[in-house]
Amino acid sequence: MFETLAHMFSYPFMVRALLVGCCIALCSALLGVSLVLKRFSMIGDSLSHVGFGALAVATALNWAPMQLCLPVVTLAAFLLLRITESGRIKGDSALALISTSSLAIGVIAVSITTGLNTDINNYLFGSILAMSAQDAHWAVLLCIVVLALFILFYHNIFTVTFDETFARATGIRAGIYNMLIALLTALTIVLGMRMMGALLISALIIFPALTSMRVCKSFFSVVLCTAAVAIFSLLCGLICSYVWSTPAGASVVAVNLLMFGLFSLLGKLLRR
């Protein structure tokens, strides 16, 4: 067991993947608590599809992926928030509309330039080799920002999540918090997408929060438990992926699913 781990850590790309993965998992899990409770969980899913589209177009144009991806996904995040808040088009249909169109644009862009090859496979399902040293720096920075936000504005985030109207009535600028959370979610998705895969990254947002809600009763315990579950699942997933040579993103999601099952069972037993 220890030999395998030591062997695993001897590869620099594995160490980098673990570092980036932990940062991304932690960020998306914390943001996910608020998103899931506000019924915004599908925003993460839509954003990752937009990310895929932007990534594919950027590659086709021979641009640096981040340059196009980041502004496009950020813009999409603001747009999605607007749509869900104004309620012109029903939220879920709007999300599906945006997801599928971005996916379509992305697939066309890829097939025109390189054809449907391993590239598209990597975009959709992630590749552990896709992380650069620069990505690692960004991921750590993002993680610090999200953690700082959660520690400094924890109570306001709670209030805005629990009861937005009350928060606004007591003078909290709820709109800014919603924007900030959407923006950070967009960043997290862009950074995590290439490792986890566009189709799988939203699991990191939704699963840990839902898992801890099976058992925890207070918001504070949900937040702590979510962070712990996210990091544990990521580490387990990556180790499994290394040992059995399974795709990294999919393995992490599978472990998350397992944790969700365990916690659901535990929650049922505790409520007896």
Binding site: K38, H155, T159, D163, T165, F166, T170, K217
Partner: protein, 234 residues
């Protein structure tokens, strides 16, 4: 000095006027019940009083010692809240955020929250999860949260909707005691019988102002008859 004075107040959504030309005042210690059918502009008026939407014309004037964020608001419950993992204590404490931002709650905020939980008889439940409480207990929690925000003015949006008869009477009694302690109450309600019995003033909305005056004269008016008659037939 009146707490709130509304003069010729109108609200509009997308150019469509939903509240037209209403005028009323709320004195300290008052108990005003706002009644009216669905879509009569009650919720719009509440949003206006909370400063969430701007009036199209007219003015809302707050008394000298009342800040915009010093209105204790008891909202209608949303579906999000029914299965929200939060402890009673967390919910009540969040009412104290209008006293200025600090990364952690101050001793004063904690003491205030504790006092309000005791006042509402939910102190023993403080570590329980909000979603596990009964409807009446949840209303007490939200009431304690509103009181943590302020003890000057409570604005309640249909507080008894969805409560069983026992919990309803219980809530009215709590509010009556608060009012006797000097808390000014504005309550939006469908429950006209109790509004007349509990309230001191009635404001009847139907897009415009149908009645504004003392509660004891309201039942004889044609406005009251229209609402009661309608309610009895449904």
């Amino acid at each position: 000095m009146a707490l709130i004075t509304c003069k010729n107040l109108s609200f509009a959504y997308d150019g469509r006027v939903v509240v037209d030309n209403i005028s009323f005042g709320v004195e300290p210690g008052d108990y005003l019940c706002v009644v009216g059918a669905n879509g009569s502009g009650k919720s719009t008026l509440i949003k206006g009083l909370l400063g969430l939407i701007k009036p199209q014309s007219g003015s809302i004037q707050l008394g000298e010692d009342l800040q915009q964020n010093e209105i204790g608001y008891l909202p209608q419950q949303t579906t999000v809240q029914r299965d929200f993992p939060a402890s009673v204590q967390e919910v009540v404490l969040s009412g104290g955020l209008n006293h200025g931002w600090t990364p952690f709650y101050t001793r004063r905020q904690k003491n205030m929250a504790a006092a309000n939980m005791m006042c509402m008889g939910i102190y023993d439940l403080r570590h329980k999860s909000y979603r596990e409480l009964s409807g009446g207990q949840q209303q007490r929690v939200l009431l304690a949260r509103a009181l943590t925000a302020t003890r000057k003015l409570l604005l309640m949006d249909e507080p008894v909707t969805g409560l069983d008869p026992l919990a309803t009477q219980d809530l009215y009694e709590l509010v009556r005691h608060l009012n006797q302690d000097g808390v000014t109450i504005i309550m939006v309600t469908h429950d006209i019988e109790n509004a007349v019995q509990e309230g001191k003033h009635i404001l009847h909305l139907a897009g415009r102002e149908l009645y504004y005056g003392p509660a004891n004269g309201y039942l004889q008016t044609s406005a009251a008859q229209s609402l009661l008659g309608g309610a009895h037939h449904v």
